[in-house]
Subunit: 429 residues, 2 copies
């Protein structure tokens, strides 16, 4: 019993092009293995050269969104435009026309999933977005259908390939941030304007989507603490390695009796932690559930074909499941307005100071930490970086304390005259 | 709209007990997050003490399977007995009574899934078995609904916790196989009769199930090449490390134009491969698809609660999806009798010889490899292991060749009088 399904693709860029290619090349494979006959009925893109290069037949090229949505053969609309301008307009119109939507658009889903899911529900169609997070890695399907028996207690993810590439280079080649960024831009791994990646916005959008699923409530991105990697000093990566830590930009979500905490920031993790060996542009999400314990999913977080894999897997899921609305409403139904968020979260800290190399300094530094209620795991003085430098680096690793206590200690040290705080990096175990 | 679902559990051992506990303790959580009201209606186990310890109410304790299957409130039957005796009889009867079955039984599914799926299909009920492979890691859900857009080209899995625990100890503590096995038995990580684990049967059953899903055809376990870890010498693990390799018992499936190859054996993989750092009783499956590229799932492959996580996730899936037959028939529909299997598979090899330490031996050894059409990547003589020993170890790493060519070289060396082959270990990149 073969099911016939017509697809339209809006935006034939990297991901949309990969999706087109995957659907066309695998047509017979899906017919055989999934009993579904998927045809690309319409594509919409302003760049006609691109459509030609992809070999899109003339009769599939739509002139405008109206033509796509008026086509009765189009059951599923794939949105791979990105952003929240025209993409939002088109997705809204598609759902209103009762077309199921599959999208790779993290910003759209992060900011407007609730609004869009309501429209989808009203029109009895589905909204799928596996491709919005961590490329081809089926993290959303896993949260929905693989570990749904669990209270997810925590998730830590490397969910941005650009920053992981940069940090990997800084870690293993000792190169400076600015230098590596320039190289990444040359290779096309980083955008000309790298802000969305390096300042953690991309990770923040993804964390909002993933933690909403994991914790069964809407986590607005505005609740996410965010710090990027642009101020990371390669020196701290090297010192961290000496203490057995590797630096990663982590998207962290935790759910406990105290509430939900969500944050994106450069984080030291033990070098033998599975996330520490996720290198280059690879991504991974490490979760802990109350039954399953630790689970990690690892793979390519970006790229034309890996992301197309997620888009097409959603298309097949939508086409082969009669309960097409499944992924759409589950979270919505349990969204709560009275979610408690932890603002003053607990963490261990790596703090690097520059202090004068003289007697009594160590006592003063440890004294300040003590007064702030912070206990120290380790304190190590490093060699001065140059002969002219009268100050030496002093690296402090603390036990678990709170963000506010750490901030307090930092401002007290800076005000004390004994030295200045040069770096503060959170540490997870 | 809450759906009411009644569950019966057959066999309240480790996994069955964990399942009971998880379902009871999470009742309200599933009601809230999944809109499903799951009640345990019946349990069946001969050990009444065990049932008492788990706090099973008297009215839920069934006297026999007939009582379970006659209960109209039982929609889903969980089978956690194991083996292919009474478990097969009960599962068959449950499916005939039109109850959906969720099982953790790898041997049953490996050997009889086709027969059982036919019965399920005929009775319009489902057969789910996520818990049969890799404990709580949602590998089956991922193959069915997460990466189904891909031709899966290869999978390599560490799918048995006992052997991975033993090999990890041998690798990092340099302990002998026999010694570690004894310790593992004392700790309850290995059975008194360890054959199923150490000789690779457990991995073989799981590979049969997983490769059947990945390659969309039934892979009988009889087609799987199998070699266990009981003859692994700790010396070879140490030598392998020097060459940059780590030893793991891998379940390997490959699908190419040449056909399907499936094998379980101790395997050297590069120490920087993600699978190499999967240690102790953790499991992982590393797959490559034509769109998604490399993907790895990592987690606990055994244990009461991790396996219960998979059982209960299947129960929820069955309860919340109207297309309950989904996981049941997909493979069946595409099973083919004309599958081509590769018998003489290609691999690189690590071969350790014991040879006399005299001039000309190296030339003779390399000569034999050359005559067998095998090119050598590296050949290294190690120090004699004791002063009395007149022979020295010679380690050869070959380029990719075939199993038959390697066997041929081994027998030629053994017949040559220049030394004997002491170890042959396959190498994957």
């Amino acid at each position: 019993m073969v099911k016939k399904v017509g697809v339209a693709i809006l935006g034939l860029g990297v991901v949309g092009g990969g999706t087109y290619q995957t659907l066309v090349e695998h047509h017979d494979f899906y017919l055989k293995t999934q009993q579904v006959d998927i045809s690309v009925e319409k594509v919409l893109d302003l760049n006609l050269e691109r459509l030609k290069a992809l070999g899109v037949p003339q009769e599939c090229i739509a002139k405008n969104i109206e033509e796509v949505l008026a086509d009765p053969n189009v059951d599923i609309v794939v949105e791979t435009i990105g952003g929240i301008g025209v993409a939002k307009t088109f997705v809204t119109a598609a759902l209103r026309a009762a077309k199921t939507v599959v999208t790779s658009n993290k910003e759209l889903i992060c900011k407007f999933s609730h609004e869009l899911e309501k429209i989808a529900k009203h029109n009895h169609c589905g909204l799928y977005y596996e491709a919005s997070c961590v490329g081809g890695v089926p993290i959303i399907r896993t949260l929905l259908d693989g570990v749904q028996a669990n209270h997810i207690q925590s998730m830590m993810g490397i969910v941005n390939g650009t920053t992981n590439y940069i940090l990997t280079k800084m870690t293993y080649e000792g190169a400076d941030y600015a230098e590596v960024l320039k190289e990444a831009q040359k290779l096309g791994y980083a955008e000309a304007n790298p802000t969305a990646d390096v300042d953690g916005y991309d990770s923040m959008y993804k964390l909002s989507i993933l933690s909403s699923m994991a914790f069964h409530t809407k986590i607005p991105y505005t609740k996410i603490f965010r710090e990027g990697i642009s101020t990371v000093n390669v020196k701290d990566i090297a010192y961290g390695r000496e203490f057995g830590y590797t630096l990663k930009l982590l998207a962290i979500g935790k759910n406990s009796d105290k509430g939900i905490e969500v944050r994106v920031h450069p984080t030291f993790i033990p070098t033998n932690h599975p996330l520490a060996s996720v290198n280059d542009s690879f991504n991974a999400v490490y979760m802990t559930g109350d039954a399953v314990d630790d689970v990690m999913l690892y793979g390519r977080g970006a790229g034309a074909l890996p992301t197309a894999s997620a888009v097409v897997s959603d298309v097949i899921y939508a086409a082969t499941h009669s309960d097409i609305k499944y992924s759409t409403f589950k979270n919505n139904a349990t969204a709560e307005s009275n979610v408690k968020f932890v603002s003053d979260f607990a963490s261990a800290y790596y703090i690097r100071l520059a202090v004068e190399d003289k007697a009594g300094v160590l006592a003063k530094v440890t004294g300040i930490f003590g007064k702030c209620g912070i206990s120290i795991v380790q304190i190590t003085q490093k060699n001065a970086e140059s002969a002219e430098d009268e100050r030496v680096p002093l690296v402090v690793i603390t036990h678990k304390t709170t963000e506010n206590a750490a901030k307090n200690a930092v401002s007290k040290i800076n005000a004390s005259g004994i030295g200045s705080v040069e770096a503060v990096i959170r540490v997870e175990q």
